[in-house]
């Protein structure tokens, strides 16, 4: 009879899942963020012409980029919340309308939506570029955020709504006081990602001649022909901004997790 082999099964924590908190000093984030920041600070000293001029020219654009991003995300969050609630509404017509909105908007590229609202609808109602830009971004991201809210609401266990109803709360009270507070925690990471995606997509509004970061860069470059230098700075500024906000989002996540339910 063959000898019984004593097999030892090694159990590890699972090497496939990367550790959340990297212990290293030089994490990918730090290298990218501080690298980009250092370049932005050093370049004007190393080569004042044309970097100093670029640095003077661009801040207006950063402001416009912020304006578009912040206004759009605020409106999109409101629109998204109602879309998510609409999607799960028990009133057929409301859920149908919300679903059609999501399907239509997600099926059309943001760039086409921008053109459509400013140029095509502009034939009927002429609105300022900034308004058209924010409207298009809001409509587009409202659909995506609507899906995130819907998933977040549905991720709250069914027993929560039942328990709230069993205590005599109305559906709306249960939604507002019991379900949505739990939803916020669930949707914070994906909403943070959407915010960063929106920040990047806001560069598309330069096509409507909104003087955002990219547009200002283009204006400067086409005037001075410093294409390489200008777009390098534009790219670095976007990178610093998105990395900064992604860090902020993950810190918020961390805090929410630690504070408990």
């Amino acid at each position: 009879m063959a000898e019984v082999k004593k097999t030892r099964i090694e159990v590890s924590d699972g090497a496939l899942i990367p550790e959340r908190e990297e212990k290293a000093t030089f994490t990918a984030w730090r290298i990218s963020f501080f690298g980009a920041l250092a370049l932005l600070i050093l370049l004007p000293f190393i080569s004042p012409q044309p970097y100093r001029q670029i640095m003077v020219f661009l801040p207006d654009g950063i402001l416009a980029t912020f304006e578009v991003t912040v206004l759009s995300i605020i409106f999109a969050l409101i629109l998204g919340l109602f879309t998510g609630l609409g999607r799960i509404s028990r009133v057929k017509i409301i859920s149908r309308i919300a679903t059609i909105y999501v399907e239509v908007v997600r099926g059309i590229p943001l760039l086409v939506q921008l053109f459509y609202i400013y140029y095509a609808l502009g034939k009927i109602v002429q609105v300022p570029r900034m308004v058209a830009a924010v409207t298009a971004m809001t409509v587009c991201y409202g659909a995506y955020l609507g899906e995130i809210f819907r998933a977040g609401i549905q991720a709250v266990p069914k027993g929560q709504m039942e328990a709230a109803l069993a205590l005599g709360m109305s559906r709306w009270q249960a939604m507002r006081r019991i379900i949505l507070p739990q939803t916020i925690k669930i949707v914070l990471p994906p909403v943070g990602n959407e915010f960063i995606a929106l920040l990047k997509d806001s560069s598309l509004v330069s096509i409507l001649a909104v003087a955002d970061l990219l547009r200002r860069g283009r204006e400067y470059a086409s005037k001075t022909f410093y294409y390489f230098e200008t777009y390098t700075v534009v790219a670095l500024v976007y990178l610093v901004l998105t990395l900064f906000f992604s860090k902020l989002v993950s810190l918020m996540e961390e805090r929410l997790r630690r504070r408990g339910p």
Binding site: A166, L167, M169, Q173, R177
Partner: protein
């Protein structure tokens, strides 16, 4: 005296599946009625029809003078009258123990925060958790969570308490602390309709036991009689499994 809860020929189906058929029984004021039966026998469904989490397809359910099964009935009022305790506790994880208890009195009964908290603290004391006022559900054991859930239902000052397998999700060592609270509640005169297989509770507190199988009420009687001398063959077979 008229019964507190009256169930008359209640029927409920989900599509083609008949969950409850022609069930009838009463629960008197201050009475503790235990419903037992194999899983899928319709006992939880029937319980959920009493506070309108489900709606009957046929028959009637009354709480006092209120016809619960009336489609136009004031559902929210019914739920204030009939408190419910769930198998999976369903505490609100974003609220403390006290927050769980005070939220419904505050927003449904429009009680002030101060008043609700006084009531809430008294109830936590009653279920033996006076020291857990500010604890969050995930800091509590299963037994403690279920006791908070009982206090939460009591905070609405219900006329009748419904328990849907309150100890089935608990580890054995935690079952007793929940049953103790329920027995105390029964002694204090609460009208209770309990779906459970806890024989200890049946002996200590139940006035009447209902045996359901396949959606029907097969047999009912005082616990000592139904457990010792069941009349029906199906009851005997089922009791063999759980006794």
């Amino acid at each position: 005296m008229a019964p507190k809860v009256r169930i008359v020929n209640a029927s409920k189906n989900f599509g083609k599946v008949l969950a409850v058929r022609n069930a009838s029984f009463d629960v008197q004021q201050g009475e503790v009625v235990l419903v037992i039966g194999p899983s899928g026998s319709g006992k939880s469904t029937l319980l959920r029809c009493v506070n309108r989490l489900e709606h009957l397809n046929g028959g009637e359910i009354w709480i006092d003078e209120e016809l619960v099964s009336d489609p136009r009935a004031d559902v929210r009022h019914i739920r204030e009258e009939a408190g419910m305790v769930f198998q999976s506790f369903n505490l609100f994880p974003h609220l403390s123990a006290l927050g769980n208890i005070t939220i419904a009195p505050r927003i449904v009964k429009k009680m002030s925060r101060e008043e609700a908290e006084v009531v809430g603290k008294r109830l936590l004391e009653r279920v033996g958790l006076a020291d857990k006022v500010h604890a969050y559900p995930d800091q509590l054991s299963g037994g403690q969570q279920q006791r908070v859930a009982i206090a939460r239902a009591l905070a609405m000052n219900p006329k009748v308490m419904l328990f849907d397998e309150p100890t089935s999700a608990l580890d054995p060592e935690m079952i007793k602390e929940v049953l103790d609270v329920m027995v105390q509640l029964a002694k204090d005169g609460m009208t209770m309709l309990v779906v459970s297989h806890e024989m200890g509770f049946a002996r200590a507190a139940a006035h009447k036991v209902i045996f359901m199988d396949n959606g029907e009420v097969i047999e009912s009687g005082p616990p000592e009689q139904l457990f010792a001398n069941p009349k029906e063959e199906r009851t005997k077979r089922f009791l063999k499994h759980i006794l």
